[in-house]
């Protein structure tokens, strides 16, 4: 496989996954410019190591690279203000949706954004990307038992903060 053939195959296999890659990166680094950079960096890194992966395995493989690139970035970014990040969440989706839906979406987004990174990562991979425990364990590089306990605690915390938000709205 020469380099041009490799590029053609890589683009065919991997560009369809860009939505998933971006969603994960955006949830990990919590802002748009960094998420863009992360996805681009992940694609370049993936291309270097690409030798023709396929299907679901390819998806887990790319998401693992995205996750690693994001974690490297987060480690470097020492000052880490969660207040600032919460304000940084634009709702750039579905301008046509009504206000009620918008406020629900904003509530869910800020609740998820304020979860600890480890919990947020497994929730995004499980509930949004619908990956299996095995795939999540490969991506996050922790045992399946840890994946499970992070999911359990993440769900619990998210349920509590959503409940609090709803109560606040009702008062």
């Amino acid at each position: 496989m020469n380099e041009e053939e490799k590029l053609t195959r890589f683009e065919g296999e991997m560009l369809p996954l860009m939505n998933d890659a971006y969603n994960l990166a955006r949830w990990l680094v919590q802002n748009e410019p960094d998420a863009r950079d992360m996805v681009q960096e992940a694609y370049l890194r993936a291309f270097k190591f690409f030798s023709g992966v396929r299907g679901e395995t390819g998806r887990a493989w790319l998401l693992r690279i995205v996750r690693n690139v994001c974690y490297d970035h987060l480690k470097k970014r020492k000052v880490y203000s969660s207040d600032e990040e919460l304000e940084n969440i634009p709702d750039n989706n579905s301008p046509e949706s009504n206000l009620q839906v918008k406020s629900d979406v904003a509530a869910v987004r800020s609740a998820l954004a304020s979860l600890p990174e480890d919990f947020r990562t497994v929730l995004v991979l499980r509930e949004m990307e619908e990956l299996s425990y095995r795939e999540i364990s490969e991506i996050t590089q922790v045992p399946i038992g840890t994946v499970m306990s992070r999911l359990a605690r993440g769900r619990q915390q998210l349920a509590e903060s959503l409940k609090k938000m709803r109560e606040k709205d009702l008062v």
Binding site: E3, L7, R9, G12, Y22, A35, N93, R109, E127, M148
Partner: protein, 266 residues
């Protein structure tokens, strides 16, 4: 089963990672125990909230082209390599088998690499592919995707009838994950062709249909161009060509479903 035992297995149950027997035990416990049922319901509420499509983030529109530009910088055109003689000596006993191998290679190359009859059709194929890719990309611009908006095949098919001299097959495959969302007229060269549009998750599939001519598309071969995946086939004197930014396996599934619907419709 006790509540503590259930808590240990609740996550894998919730995520469909348990065997049938264990799952049934949990199901039974949940039906009898309101406390555990409440925990389960809270998990479901979280799942429902997170799976709203609006909660996902979608990439900025220009990210794809930016990544492609960066990737292409990684690849320089392959230089023409010079043939070099091997720097080692070939033992005499190997010579006859090498000669045999060479003869096989000559035959192989002669028949496969230079099929002269196919040369011109390859050029044509490249032109057709390039046009379909640009049709597909144009269709993804805002308000360009669909002329007739309908998820009903009995609305989309007659809409084409008034506009084209042929009748493209239109099948709704929403139950299999490929939702029919409408149709559009498009062009291949000067020829008007049909575009039937499907949605799969956040990906779109354009199914282009035109009467079979001398410019046939290679059947059932995955063609990849500019990051899009394309598969063509023929049915009832029509050339069908599906193009998408979804993964190759997804496209293959879509094409198989189209063919099956077509066969059962006849």
């Amino acid at each position: 089963m006790t509540c503590d035992e259930l808590h240990e297995q609740l996550e894998p149950f919730f995520d469909n990672e348990l065997g049938l027997a264990e799952a049934q035990k949990i199901q039974q416990h949940l039906e009898q125990c309101p406390t555990c049922e409440a925990i389960y319901a809270a998990g479901l509420a979280v799942r429902e909230a997170l799976q709203k499509p609006e909660v996902r983030f979608t990439p900025p529109g220009d990210l794809r082209s930016q990544i492609r530009a960066e990737l292409s910088k990684q690849v320089r055109p392959t230089p023409q390599r010079r043939w070099r003689l091997p720097a080692f000596e070939i033992p005499n006993w190997l010579l006859p088998s090498l000669a045999g191998a060479a003869a096989v290679l000559v035959l192989w190359f002669g028949f496969n690499i230079f099929p002269t009859a196919n040369r011109s059709s390859n050029g044509l194929l490249a032109t057709v592919t390039a046009q379909l890719v640009s049709d597909h990309m144009r269709s993804l611009l805002p308000d360009h995707l669909i002329d007739v908006v309908s998820t009903d095949q009995h609305t989309v098919k007659p809409w084409f009838a008034g506009k084209l001299s042929f009748s493209p097959p239109v099948y709704d495959l929403s139950s299999q994950g490929f939702k029919l969302i409408g149709g559009r007229l498009d062009y291949l060269g000067n020829q008007e062709i049909a575009a039937v549009v499907f949605q799969h998750g956040h990906h779109y599939i354009n199914l282009f249909v035109w009467p079979k001519s001398e410019s046939t598309y290679p059947a059932d071969t995955l063609v990849q161009k500019e990051g899009f995946n394309i598969i063509g086939w023929e049915a009832n004197g029509l050339t069908m060509c599906a193009i998408t930014d979804a993964a190759p396996d997804t496209l293959k599934t879509f094409v198989d479903l189209q063919k099956k619907s077509h066969m059962s419709a006849e």
